[in-house]
């Protein structure tokens, strides 16, 4: 003989509205796919931005200065207020001022075999913002030489353009670091000459850097004017592609290396896609839930007589609720599991596709995606449970 479940199933038929039920199943499936996709895209994007394997150290440091225009020629210094305001912004992790040299200087070779001479200006920046580590990066008045960090692009410019046009040899970084040259500083009391040597090359800051101590000493002794306001500032940020950052710079008339902020536009597009996906998914989920609720109501209403008789014969409301829950809930587990599987499949596919291009995204769906699926499942459980409780008590009350 068949069990209680079979007999109850025979009595409480859910035949009515089956078509609507299947429509709701399809609706819920699409909604789940949209919601999980939105969460997953967001997670992947965050992965790309913040994970170690994708991090582009250059992109996290931005050198800012006022956009030069006819109106602010000669007045590009950043005020304390402007710097403080910048520090307050959420996207700024730390700031450092670039100090320009306010004395005349030049460099020239110490050897006649390889003659060169050029006027030059230096900048200095707090050590935290320098991407070169060198044990020689220090200076005091007794130091044997002034260490200098040169921009990588200077060397590139020399090797791939200048050397050809002047018929000079190409130089590697190592060779340049061995060359000791003269650094001339011109003060009110005449010329002072130091030895100088390049100790590293930077991708981050496109000026010749000297240690802060040397800069302070030089500016104090040889500075032409005592204006100490910096014109350029370096910031450290988690995400140079943050649209907020780009908008802020635009609003304040600041400019930076546009190439580093190019992600901002992609980011905005991703945000819009994610939001549309979210919104549509949530609306569809709500409608699907509404239809499911109506379906439960319809089933219970159409079996009112049977439910009353079952209770009369001694079936407990709890037994019936349990039975109805078993009837209505498993389909949701199925839908959500399938949606998760589809998302996992897609994620694995994207992972494989991008790895070949040197971009790393996780091969598994993110924890957030799984959490979202569990959250939706719990919500559906609550709604189903509430509907059953609510609608089953109606025939009983009338009884």
């Amino acid at each position: 003989m068949k069990g209680l479940h079979y007999l109850l199933k025979k009595l409480i038929r859910s035949g009515a509205g089956r078509k609507r039920f299947f429509m709701a199943v399809i609706g819920l499936s699409v909604a789940m796919l949209l919601i999980l996709t939105a969460v997953q895209i967001q997670a992947d994007y965050n992965d790309l931005l913040h994970s170690k394997s994708n991090q582009d150290s250059v992109a996290n440091f931005l050198v800012l200065n006022k956009t030069l225009s006819d109106q602010n020629l000669g007045a590009t210094a950043l005020t304390d207020n402007e710097i403080n305001d910048l520090k307050q912004q959420v996207f700024v992790e730390s700031t450092g001022s670039l100090t320009p040299s306010r004395f005349k200087a030049s460099i020239q070779s110490s050897s006649d075999r390889f003659p060169f001479f050029t006027d030059i200006a230096f900048e200095s920046v707090p050590n935290d913002f320098i991407d070169v580590t060198s044990k020689d990066w220090k200076w005091d008045e007794n130091a044997a030489f002034v260490p200098i960090i040169a921009p990588n692009m200077f060397l590139d410019f020399y090797n791939f353009q200048f050397s050809f046009s002047q018929n000079l040899p190409q130089l590697t970084q190592q060779v340049v670091k061995m060359i000791v040259f003269k650094v001339n500083v011109y003060g009110p009391n005449g010329l002072i000459t130091f030895n100088g040597r390049v100790v590293g090359f930077s991708d981050r800051i496109s000026s010749l850097l000297v240690p802060q101590e040397f800069m302070n000493w030089g500016n104090a002794h040889f500075g032409i004017n005592q204006d100490t306001k910096p014109s350029r500032i370096i910031i450290r940020t988690k995400d140079p592609g943050n649209p907020q950052l780009v908008q802020y710079l635009k609003r304040k008339g600041l400019s930076t290396d546009a190439d580093k902020t190019r992600f901002s536009r992609y980011r905005q597009i991703v945000d819009i896609v994610v939001r549309i996906s979210w919104g549509t998914g949530v609306i569809m989920l709500l409608f699907a839930l509404l239809v499911f609720t109506l379906f439960i109501q319809l089933t219970i209403a159409s079996c009112k007589e049977e439910i009353i008789l079952l209770i009369t014969l001694g079936a407990s409301p709890r037994q019936l609720r349990h039975f109805l829950m078993k009837q209505f809930f498993p389909v949701h587990i199925l839908i959500i599991s399938i949606s998760l599987l589809v998302i996992s499949g897609l994620q694995f596919f994207i992972h494989r596709k991008l790895v070949s291009q040197g971009i790393f995204v996780n091969s598994l769906p993110s924890v957030n995606t799984i959490a979202a699926a569990v959250f939706v499942l719990i919500s559906i459980w609550l709604v189903t449970n509430f509907s059953i409780r609510n609608y089953i008590s109606i025939p009983l009350r009338k009884n």
Partner: protein
Amino acid sequence: MTIELDHIIPIPLKDRFLQRSSDVWNTSVLFSQGEFIKIKAPSGTGKTTLVHLLYKLRHDYEGTIMINARSIADFSEDELAGLRQDKISIIFQDLRLFPNLTARENIELKRILHTPFYDEDVIDKMSEILGISHVLEQKAGLCSYGEQQRIAIVRALIQPFELLIMDEPFSHLDIVNTQKAAALIEVECRKRNAGFIITDLDEDNNFIYNRHLIL
């Protein structure tokens, strides 16, 4: 199990019932464990109403009904279900079978609504005694009233109980079948040390009653 009725009276019938005397309405009555009680009730004296009040299907009455010294008004839905599953069984006058289930399924449903009291084969044994074996696989809605009444009797006897309430249980049966059914009911009650309350229009000798009451 004991049932005490303390001055109960159905509200819709109050005016009419207060004008005449009754062994049950508006008085105190105690039904003890294992008693066989016959309630004779001419038409219009509230026979079915009494049955429904005892089974807590109606709430529109004054007075108190106590089961084991506890007012049935205080029973929760789940407690009530428990009571109907293993303390009080019932045969309705209007039978109340599921027309779309077979006779066997109707009985089986009651058997497995909680931990079964009897094995499945008892359905066949009882059905054979009452002469309804041939309709067991038939939809209950298609059976004759006489057959439906016997299905309802087997359904009531398949569960554990301490009290069996019967509302004109033999109204559609001939004398021979009535005797067979009464004999089976008595055997099942004795087996459980259970009592019953039977309501009917007339006097009868189907059982040896401990008490006769007039509604």
